[in-house]
Amino acid sequence: MSESLLPPGWKVHLPVFEGPLDLLLHLVKVNQVEITDIPVATICDQFHEYLRLMEELNLDIAGEYIYEASLLIHLKSKMLLPRPATVEGEPAEDPRQELVERLLEYRRLKAAAQTLAETDRLRLGVFTRKPQPRPGPEEGEEIELGEVSLFDLLGAFKQVLVRYDREHPPPFLVSPEVWSVRAQFERYLGELSPSRPFDLLADLRRRSGRAEAIAAFLAVLELARLNLVRLHQTEAGEVLLYRTTRDWSRADIEAVGA
């Protein structure tokens, strides 16, 4: 960035544009040229001059302007190249064609926006009666079904989730050591028997929360690794635990991380 020529905090009123196309239309106007016959080199230089001025004033230059500036440089260089030979007297395509079309379309839409602005101003002065409360039991605000859009649907869903989270604050975190894998390991050793199937999923669901369930699950994996339990999945999807016949020792428990 070049050093500012102005004292810090100094404010200069620079015309505000609604984007690079708006700036280009302005340059076309002040140069009194036709959109269909733009002097690319001049306009390109003035466009860059404007950006340089913005930079000097420490204004943020939106990426769109920089992109457009690069398009203009490209176009300027193209204009310097000799045009390809014409076929049977047909005029060669003007490299400016695309820019011309974009500017014409943008100017049309800007005219439409101006008309909307005038109507907007006029219609702000039109008053209707406020909606009267409808007799009957229905409560609260209502939306015409035909007018409900995805935006409303998403908004409603977000509302539900936000309210749910507010009404269901997360439980106090239980200090992790309470749910040690080793404690779960010992609990299973006490509860399992070789003859009676033990429903693992039901047991996990009975745990106080995620942390305990995870500790319990890790304990089961340890038990299986040490060949102290056998896992069996039924066709219905249940997971059954059986105690194997292998005896456990103190060393087995101490092998499990606390």
Binding site: F127, T128, R129, K130, Q132, R134, P135, G136, E138, E139, G140, E141, E142, I143, E144, L145, G146, V148, S149, L150, F151, D152, L153, L154, A156, F157, K158, Q159, V160, L161, Y164, E167
Partner: protein, 180 residues
């Protein structure tokens, strides 16, 4: 000086928009000092225009220190019918939220919806079924075998979607509308 027609028009417009009775003086205060005498006459002319009459649905009435325009009581049955019909094409906030839950969490049961909204969804589900936004897709294989609810073809058409999986995730819209 403001012309008499403009005074009358302004008074009629204000009375039309105001739902509550307006004190006469407040109406006259709308105008410049010099116009008030004329405005008082204009107000009487407007009120006379709204005297109860055959073929007229709206009348002026004097209440609690003010004047207002109201519909004539004999026409209440028509108004009731109108509001009933209008209500049929409207969705309450509760219905919209329930529809959103069904759309995003389908298939889902009434108890599961209740879990999310803390309100018994029975009445709202009935409305949504009647509006053909929601349908019963089956029963959940749990105790009590509750109905499962999902969205309909009409729902997809209404929102311009081909498939339920085209419903935007919460983050997608936020991202699409985030600048830069």
């Amino acid at each position: 000086m403001t012309g008499r027609p403009e005074l009358e028009a302004a008074l009629e417009a204000v009375l039309f928009v105001a739902a509550d009775p307006v004190p006469r003086q407040r109406l006259l205060d709308l105008f410049d000092e010099g116009d008030r005498e004329e405005a008082a006459q204009a107000l009487e002319a407007v009120l006379a225009r709204y005297a109860p009459a055959e073929g007229r649905g709206v009348a002026a009435e004097e209440v609690a220190g003010g004047v207002r325009l109201v519909t004539r009581p004999e026409l209440a049955p028509y108004l009731r019918r109108f509001f009933e019909a209008a209500g049929e094409s409207k969705l309450s906030v509760a219905a919209l939220e329930t529809l959103a839950i069904v759309a995003y969490r389908q298939p889902i049961t009434a108890p599961e919806i209740q879990e999310l909204r803390s309100v018994n969804p029975a009445a709202v589900l009935k409305t949504l079924l009647e509006r053909r936004m929601v349908r019963i897709t089956g029963r959940k294989e749990v105790v009590g075998k509750p109905f499962l609810y999902g969205t309909t073809r009409e729902f997809l058409m209404h929102f311009g979607l081909n498939h339920v999986r085209d419903l935007p995730p919460l983050e997608e819209l936020e991202e699409a509308l985030r600048d830069g």
